[in-house]
Amino acid sequence: MDNNYKPNPENLVEVNDLKMYFPIKTGLLSTTPLKAVDGVSFAIKPGETLGLVGESGCGKTTVGRALIRLYKPTDGDVFFDGKRVDDRSIGALRKDMQMVFQDPYSSLNPRMTVEDIIGEPLDVHKLYSSRADRREKILHLMELVGLNAEHATRYAHEFSGGQRQRIGIARALATNPRFIVCDEAVSALDVSIQAQVINMFEDLQQKLGVAYLFIAHDLLVVHHISKRIAVMYLGKMVETADADELNENPMHPYTTSLLSAVPYPDPIVAKSSKRIILEGDVPSPLRMPSGCPFRTRCKYATEQCAAEMPKLTDRGNGHMVACWNK
């Protein structure tokens, strides 16, 4: 933690050198730190969206959860609205920071009605004056996310995946937050429903001015909604740029491969495409390669890559890349 770090007052959320290590038992008494997130920094302005992409297991969820203090970060600074987020301040900030979860099934309590699920944040923060007021607020939220108000007394298991996700979004919106972490909020949905839900996220942003950290493993999904995109690999940030810039001019070898990582059923098209096939598996975060984390799969890797970890450096217009050779 850096006590002298001063956040930029323009940023709603600012994360500086966030680290989250999980102790993993390796023997009877010995533990090894699993570096799920290892020095990630980013900032989000009010009403803006930052997309966070990377393969599954690279630490995206952990970033979101440490940021919102579901986990206690091992190190690093998180600021919200200029205030440091720590155990003392988080209670007052809960209202302003919310989360939408990945799994539309396990994120809704099967024993509660939709009304009580959406009403829970209202109950916790005592945000209503009477039962009637509570009900009115809940119905308004349901309407906001496109749910039929008549279904307020139903149980979550009676809804489809997309509708369940809307319930989760209504719950996140209940306290009128300024920032929402959307952790793969559309990944579990059918493609057609994905588009609907993403559109709704955008609509809500325009109406309510809420900022998002939009996590996904699909660059295309993130591109659609984000102003800026950050690419993660093995707990580290490897590239960050404005969404269009990243799409048109990806620099880091990992980002390039992500952008082309789509299977082609047509062999002729596949041959002629400049598809970059990533070889090998993601190394275990317990046995992180020395130097650049991507070097075990990178075709540009040199000796320098093994010796030293490249830092994120600005390549103009805020396009930051962590790579020695690109």
Binding site: R94, M99, S106, T153
Partner: protein, 360 residues
């Protein structure tokens, strides 16, 4: 219209060779589509759904009927039958010394004489015991005591086990580690030996005066309850802890934390409702096991204090004349069998109907 077109143009360009979905082909969902006014099936709560399944299970329904019949019997019989469990039968105000060890539905000489003279004598449905007490009333009382012991013991187990297990499971980590090692130690204590030792000690220490239920039950029963409170909750605690560890992983618990809910609210609103069925099932299965323990203790004369009967002490007393008066063993033994069987079948039925792991 123009706005919509602009929206479409804002979408990212697709790499022409990519098979990824082209977002430009997507249309904005209309408000109508967004409302998704789907026709939904009749709303069913978890509880109603479970009850429906329970009603369809013949064994469970049978055991519910048996249990209701037994409960009716133990409440109605002592009120209707004009004999008491502790007093020798009196005929017309006089003690009937000859009315011992009678077979079911027979009358003693004194009673026969009284009937011949025009008096009315309530039949001895199960005969009488060796001291001349009506056996039907004693069996009804014994069942009452045994059931009370079973229910009370499992309530003790339920309360302690749920509290302990939910604290260990919810807070996890070091708290869990220490609490579960204590459970392991308690698990390894020999329970019957503890009951015997405790009742010996309590017999010396505790003196109950008067006519309260505790005094009438005797110190043996108190020590049985204490031992249940001290030892038997560990199984429940383990079960609850395991359940909570699993439920804690669900994202709805994280969502409640993000909403700012405190631990007590999370346990109350999210965790307990999702493991309550498993807990209740296991508490229902605890009742016959407590009844069995009580019967066993009474059988080795560590049970309820005479003249209070329990099914176990009745069975124990019946041993002496087992060849001549077999019925005296049959009645309490059948009662014990019926109760334990009914609770076990009901517990299984509840599990089939309500255990979330077995659903769908």
């Amino acid at each position: 219209m123009a706005k919509e077109a602009a929206d479409v143009n804002k979408m990212p360009k697709k790499n022409p060779l990519s098979l990824q979905i082209d977002l430009q082909k997507f249309e904005k969902a209309t408000d109508e589509e967004k409302t998704q006014a789907e026709v939904m099936s009749e709303s069913t709560s978890f509880f109603r759904d479970g009850m429906r399944k329970l009603r369809r299970n013949p064994l469970a329904v049978f055991s519910i009927i048996v249990l209701i019949a037994i409960i009716l019997m133990i409440t109605v019989v002592p009120a209707v039958v004009p004999y008491s469990y502790s007093d020798i039968i009196t005929v017309n105000g006089k003690r009937d010394k000859s009315a011992t060890n009678m077979a079911p539905f027979t009358y003693s000489k004194m009673e026969q004489k009284y009937i011949d003279e025009g008096g009315k004598v309530f039949p001895h449905i199960m005969g009488t015991d060796e001291l001349g007490r009506d056996y039907f009333v004693r069996v009804a009382y014994g069942t009452r005591i045994s059931l009370l012991v079973g229910v009370f013991a499992s309530v003790i187990v339920l309360i302690i086990g749920v509290l302990y297990g939910s604290i260990a499971g919810y807070f996890g980590g070091k708290v869990d580690l220490i609490m579960m090692r204590i459970v392991d130690i308690i698990y390894s204590l020999p329970d019957l030996l503890m009951i015997i030792l405790l009742s010996v000690v309590l017999n010396e220490v505790l003196k109950f005066d008067g006519n309260g239920i505790l005094a009438r039950l005797g110190t043996n029963m108190i020590s049985l309850f204490i031992v249940f409170g001290l030892l038997y909750w560990v199984g429940m605690a383990r079960l609850v802890r395991g359940q909570i560890l699993t439920i804690k992983q669900n994202e709805y618990v994280l969502a409640a934390k993000v909403s700012g809910a405190r631990s007590s609210r999370i346990i109350r609103r999210h965790i307990l409702p999702n493991c309550i069925s498993v807990i209740i099932i296991s508490a229902a299965l605890q009742i016959p096991s407590a009844i069995f323990t009580e019967s066993f203790l009474s059988f080795i004369s560590l049970g309820v204090k005479a003249p209070m009967p329990s099914l176990g002490s009745l069975a124990s007393a019946a041993r002496s004349g087992i060849t001549t008066y077999t019925y005296k063993l049959v009645f309490p033994a059948v009662m014990i069998g019926l109760i334990t069987l009914a609770f076990n079948l009901l517990g299984d039925g509840l599990r089939d109907a309500f255990d979330p792991k077995l659903r769908r």
